[in-house]
Point group: C2
Chain length 206, copies 2
């Protein structure tokens, strides 16, 4: 049955090519510029063909969201191995914000476009499992605060999970505000992020 395998491989290849083309378009034209016909033209197929591999534009967006989340995990992973907890958290913050600003369109697609898109990460069968990029990213950040707690630097009543959420939400605020409101927080990120992290950590320490 090598034939059906080859066909399945070809089908998967075309699906990957669609996603790759879509990814490139999002990178250059933003998510609003992601058009079915543009994708079809990029891969030299008819628009209708896209619907043989995806239910529609939304499904393509969800897939892009998931792969974007993997990129985020990849961006956070290197700095997650910093031993000293406080330095690790500072490095995580810097890496997170840098990813958001450099991969602006990807970040927007993941976190700022549509609730149904990011929900793809949580509504999948493997959600919550170790392969789930959402779980992975959360684990990387939570690891910093768990390390803080393990070092005894946290107040006894402090919940590392709550601190993780606070931390993540704050960082997301910096990134999304910078992406949406050009020049609104007049403070440049190089000042804003260290100030944010310093205040948060100083306030969290026992």
């Amino acid at each position: 049955m090598g034939i059906s395998e080859r066909k399945a491989r070809q089908k998967a290849d075309l699906r990957a090519r669609i996603l790759e083309a879509a990814r490139a378009i999002v990178l250059t034209d933003g998510f609003a510029g992601l058009t079915m016909r543009k994708i079809a033209q990029a891969i030299e197929y008819s628009p209708g063909t896209l619907y043989l591999h995806f239910a529609g534009r939304d499904e393509i967006a969800r897939d892009l969201c998931i792969s974007g989340f993997r990129d985020l995990v990849a961006a956070l992973t290197p700095v997650a191995s910093v031993a000293e907890p406080r330095a690790r958290i500072e490095a995580l913050a810097e890496a997170y914000v840098r990813f958001g600003l450099e991969q602006a369109e990807t970040y927007r697609l993941i976190f700022m476009v549509d609730p149904t898109i990011v929900s793809a990460i949580y509504d999948r069968p493997e959600a919550g499992g170790p392969d789930d990029p959402g779980t992975q990213a959360y684990g990387l950040i939570a690891g910093g605060f768990l390390a803080l707690q393990a070092a005894g630097d946290l107040a006894p009543t402090a919940d590392p999970m709550v601190l993780t959420d606070v931390f993540w939400a704050s960082l997301h605020g910096v990134v999304s505000l910078k992406l949406t409101c050009p020049g609104f927080p007049a403070t440049p990120v190089e000042v804003l992020v260290p100030a944010l992290v310093a205040s948060l950590l100083d306030g969290m320490l026992a």
Copy 2:
């Protein structure tokens, strides 16, 4: 010349009716559901008429953004009179987040849709002036940190403007994350916001 005045008044009225209809549509259907034809139908005019009062959909969106910003100012103003600096900042945070979550579609329109929309606030002639809702909102929040500084509770090196930006960005992160990622920060806002504000303030205090 009472006639031309009446015509000008009628024109302004129709413009206001257009904005009101658009506002109602955004409230129910979200910004994505804001359609020129839907507005026209709501005010019982032809679609083309809208273009006699607005350059296009974007201009309507920008006007809605500005009036939404005024609503935000109105939501923050009452609590800005709290005397004690720390209590004021806590109240500001609560009011800000509540506004964002209750007026979700308005908040989205202002801060989360398109950089060109919120830029309407800064690109207008009166931007930066005392009538500018952007300046007003910023002033209300900055007032809390200036009061903190005046009370001598801030470190000498701390910049109240930077702290204001940190504060605003963090709050925006909470709101926008809650709006976009339903159920992602597992911590409920009633816990998240106080924890955020407590950590920030404790870290900022001298």
